[in-house]
């Protein structure tokens, strides 16, 4: 057992653990941050993705002790109901999730992707998310969400609270038959 100290979502965290404790289990079982999920045992699925010192990592493939002294951000630190990160807001708006299990990892990866490439093409978004799998959405609306969030971040749109969005969400008319442009982009401004 050894003492492990790190920063998680901007706060100091400290606990005793075996060196074999994986970071994902430290976050979930020692620190109560259960938003980070486990979906596989081969570093394949990306459900456990967090930021370590600002860049994405699979927390199932990092020992907690390796993260000692480092800065970890989980989905809980990306944003919350009082101040959604534009990526969270966009996943919500574009229906980029269904069961929600892959979603925290997907959002964290997408945040990392936009740090590297603030204006990605759809192909770049798909390539940039190759470390994450989703079994529900067929990725269509995830790609849309990342595109929407990229625009919001480029334009520095302020974070919004869930309570400021939900009651205002107006019913929107039928989309063009292509299935594209589900909610017009300008709606984003009118709601903000």
């Amino acid at each position: 057992m050894q003492q492990i100290e790190l920063t998680v979502n901007g706060k100091r965290a400290s606990f005793m653990a075996e060196p074999r404790l994986l970071l994902v289990h430290a976050l979930r079982d020692y620190l109560g941050l259960t938003g980070t999920h486990v979906g596989c045992d081969t570093s394949s699925c990306g459900a456990c993705t967090v930021l370590i010192d600002g860049v994405s990592a699979k927390s199932c493939t990092v020992f907690a002790v390796q993260a000692a002294g480092h800065d970890v951000t989980t989905i809980e630190g990306i944003g919350n109901a009082d101040a959604l990160h534009p990526m969270q807001d966009a996943f919500w708006e574009k229906h980029g999730l269904q069961c929600g299990y892959c979603t925290p990892g997907m959002i964290v990866s997408a945040v990392d992707l936009l740090q590297r490439n603030p204006n990605p093409s759809d192909a770049e978004i798909r390539a940039g998310l190759e470390g994450n799998v989703c079994r529900c959405t067929g990725y269509e609306n995830i790609v849309k969400a990342v595109r929407t969030a990229a625009a919001a971040l480029r334009e520095n749109r302020p974070r919004r609270a869930v309570r400021d969005i939900e009651p205002l969400t107006p019913p929107v008319e039928e989309p063009p038959p292509s299935g594209e442009a589900i909610i017009p982009e300008q709606l984003q401004e009118t709601k903000a």
């Binding site: 938003g35 999920h37 996943f91 019913p171």
Partner: protein, 783 residues
């Protein structure tokens, strides 16, 4: 704003804020004081005698609380250790399926013992410390070999055949004798792994004081789980509470009752501690149900003008080693849907279910219907190829016409409503089918391999009338108008991504005239919600939503009585309009549902004989299934050097009747299409001849990443149904059912210049490369 605005609107999902912020509670997020952790010792062999289980080393570990074996469970008081199946089939062989193997294991991953320890890490260590002595037995994994005879999966049966179901309609022999062309093909519908991203997860907690067992489980069917656990654990059903909290995907794989759920329930009772079990992905591949796995021998007879006159089908379903909840039912659904959306009057069929030394197959997204749609749609293309007709024209020739609904098929199903040709025409237009064919010709001249695939599917869902179901087919809804006007909906279905917290709230908001944020939809807890059957078979909205509609009607009827008493009016003169009660045709005076609810709570201003309170529980028994349909068009290009397939375009025009929230319906289609496409191109569960699972991790089993699927262009038509009061059909599985043959047909179409008539899925690059290089001329699979 008119109150009709919510239904049909693309509003954001109400379940999402907790999911996108990491604040949702899945089973593994439930933390209880004193929890201990289970890990299972599983068979490394496909078939073996269990000679001995030595747990002494594990028991020496101070972190280990207990190690239980099959014999201990089998002889435990009150326990029926054979797992239940839900079926009504006559003459079905049902060998015992013990929660933990007794003396024999029959597939890799079968649980042999369970270890309970202080931490998940210690439990995993202890599994390694349990020494099991096995004696290997002969293995059979191929269903056709299993059909031939020994070795037997269950020696005592003296056969591997679980059931044989013959079928005949019309005069198939005459139809084949009189046909101009006959196409004959064996098609293998490969085995798939469902791979919800959340593996099986469960937490059982025995309250010795209250004598109550609470089980949290990642399940699609909390009430059925409760019922089955009551049976196998020998507990009164009302002493069990089953909770499906947030569930991370199911796809049919969580429409089951697993041995592990019963085992940890029992262990919790023995230890009087909460027992948690979260399976690993590797275990999930071994011991969560698989899907598909059929060998279908087909013959189709046609006239020279493309008219189909007869069909012969032999379906061999690989059931795996044991029946899970619905195992034997799945291949029989394939036979029922083998007419597709065509008039085929003469059918000879046979379904044979066989046991093999593999994990059980059961319901996986589509469950029996994708297999049928796949072979019917492949056969349509093969007939077109043989007759040198356009695949769209062969289909057009044989569609059940829109005027013929309701239409009873030769297999005995009554299709409720449909308009197959207009949906196909819309899809062909959306895809610019004529233009695509032109482009294909041009590219072919340049040596490029463009393929265009069509699939015109119909599927059976909204499961279903109770008479046609292995278990109950109805569902339930309760509406409570709370004293201060908020509305609570308790639904018997158990959504896990399908969005009914939103769509049901949309319906209630409109019909009862309340702001949507005043509506809360509660599900997945047997102590909160009246009995319900669950979410599967694209039934959540078609059956659960229909029950909700009935409950809305009951609330409205009672609220009208309350208003009538207030206004000293005749209830017959009042109506609900825009969510409020008014005198018919006169909106000058209204009473809201919330106001009626408050009066009902106060209790002193009610008409004589009317009970206080404004709530209602209703159940909907569907009179029939519903039959959504559509046309999918897939465009692929094959790399002639490598055989790699790039899906260039994907168009889908689907019809599931009325849409409560088109955004959610489209999302269901997107995901469904991706899963069906993945069957066509990528996924396959492979056991080797020793019964070892070769594709046991996500490093080997290829579920698609974002780069491996295309953008989907969707459109829809609306053909209502009268099967339920909402006029809608299920859409959860339609995408999967429609897409597999569209993609497969596109790939085979691309290879037409090589004379390829058929290849079995998955259409991996090597298979296509081999077909191109060998110039294999169809009729037989390239493996």
């Amino acid at each position: 704003m008119a109150f009709t605005a919510m239904v049909g609107a693309r509003i954001r999902r109400r379940e999402d804020p907790r999911l996108i912020t990491g604040r949702a509670t899945y089973v593994d997020d439930v933390k209880q004081v004193g929890t201990v952790y289970a890990a299972f010792v599983r068979s490394p062999y496909g078939h073996a005698k269990v000679r001995s289980v030595d747990a002494s080393a594990a028991n020496d570990d101070p972190n280990v609380l207990a190690v239980y074996t099959g014999h201990e469970l089998h002889h435990a008081h009150g326990v029926k250790s054979s797992m239940p199946v839900a079926h009504k089939m006559a003459d079905l062989e049902t060998p015992p399926h013990y929660m933990l193997a007794l003396d024999e294991v029959r597939f890799v991953g079968e649980p042999v013992a369970v270890v309970i320890a202080n931490s998940p890490y210690a439990a995993r260590d202890a599994v390694e410390a349990v020494a099991v002595e096995y004696e290997e037995l002969p293995v059979v994994v191929d269903p056709l070999e299993a059909l031939e005879g020994a070795p037997y999966v269950h020696e005592s049966l003296g056969t591997n055949v679980a059931f044989t179901m013959p079928f005949k309609a019309g005069d198939p022999d005459k139809a084949f004798a009189e046909a101009d062309v006959v196409v004959k093909q064996r098609m293998i519908n490969q085995r798939l792994a469902p791979v919800p991203i959340e593996p099986r997860s469960m937490l059982a907690s025995w309250d010795a004081g209250m004598q109550q067992l609470t089980i949290y489980s990642a399940t699609q069917i909390p009430h059925l789980l409760r019922t089955q656990l009551a049976v196998v654990l020998g507990l009164p059903e009302n002493r069990i509470r089953a909770i499906a909290p947030e569930v991370g995907g199911g796809f049919g794989a969580k429409l089951n009752v697993y041995a592990e759920e019963a085992v940890i329930g029992w262990a919790s009772m023995q230890l009087e501690r909460p027992v948690k079990y979260i399976e690993t992905r590797s275990e999930c591949f071994q011991a969560m149900i698989h899907g598909r796995d059929q060998v279908d021998d087909l013959e189709i007879a046609a006239k020279n003008d493309g008219t189909i006159v007869g069909l012969r089908v032999r379906i061999v379903g690989n059931l795996g080693a044991y029946h899970q909840l619905l195992t034997p039912v799945i291949p029989t659904l394939t036979l029922l849907m083998s007419c597709g959306c065509y008039r085929i009057d003469n059918i000879a069929g046979e379904v044979i279910g066989v046991f093999t030394n593999t994990m059980s197959t059961d319901a996986y997204r589509g469950a029996g219907r994708p297999e049928a749609t796949y072979f019917v749609e492949r056969l349509m293309d093969m007939v077109a190829q043989k007759l040198n007709m356009d695949p769209a024209e062969v289909r057009r020739k044989n569609f059940i016409p829109a005027s013929a609904f309701p239409h009873t098929t030769a297999t005995g199903l009554t299709y409720d409503s449909g308009s197959y040709e207009s949906t196909m025409d819309k899809a062909l237009k959306l895809a610019d089918y004529a233009g695509l064919r032109k482009r294909q010709e041009e590219l072919r001249r340049q040596g490029r391999l463009l393929g265009i695939g069509l699939s015109t599917y119909v599927e059976v869902c909204g499961m279903g009338p109770s008479a046609a179901m292995p278990a109950a087919g109805w569902d339930s809804a309760t509406i409570r108008v709370e004293p201060t006007g908020s509305i609570t909906v308790l639904t018997g279905v158990s959504p896990h991504g399908q969005g009914e917290e939103t769509t049901f709230a949309q319906l209630v908001a409109d019909e009862l005239g309340v702001p949507i944020d005043q509506v809360t939809v509660v599900h997945g807890d047997t102590d909160k919600v009246q009995y319900g059957v669950g979410t599967f078979g694209s039934r959540g909205t078609a059956v659960g939503g229909a029950a909700l509609k009935l409950a809305i009607e009951s609330i409205q009827a009672k609220a009208i009585k309350i208003a009538a008493h207030q206004w000293e009016a005749n209830p017959d003169d009042l109506e609900y309009r825009d969510g409020k009660i008014q005198v018919k045709g006169d909106p000058s005076k209204t009473l809201s549902t919330a106001e009626a609810g408050f009066l009902a709570f106060m209790g002193d201003k009610l008409p004589p004989g009317l009970e206080p309170g404004l709530d209602a529980t209703r159940r909907f028994e569907p009179p029939n299934f519903v039959f959504p349909f559509g046309t999918h068009v897939c465009v692929v290009e094959i790399d002639a050097q490598t055989g790699e397939v790039k899906v260039e375009k994907y168009y889908a025009v689907d019809d599931c009747g009325r849409l409560l929230n088109p955004m959610i319906a489209e999302g269901q289609l997107h995901g469904g299409i991706a899963q069906g496409l993945a069957q066509a191109l990528y996924e396959e569960v492979v056991y080797d001849e020793n019964g070892q699972l070769v594709t046991g991790t996500l490093m080997d089993y290829a579920i698609p990443h974002a780069e491996q699927v295309p953008h989907y262009e969707l459109d829809h038509t609306v053909t209502p149904t009268d099967v339920n009061p909402l006029g809608l059909k299920g859409i959860g599985e339609a995408g999967t059912i429609g897409s597999t043959p569209a993609v497969a047909n596109a790939v085979i179409d691309a290879l037409a210049p090589f004379g390829v008539a058929h290849l079995d899925m998955p259409l991996r690059p090597e298979k296509l490369w081999a077909a191109m290089h060998a110039g294999i001329s169809g009729n037989g699979s390239v493996r």
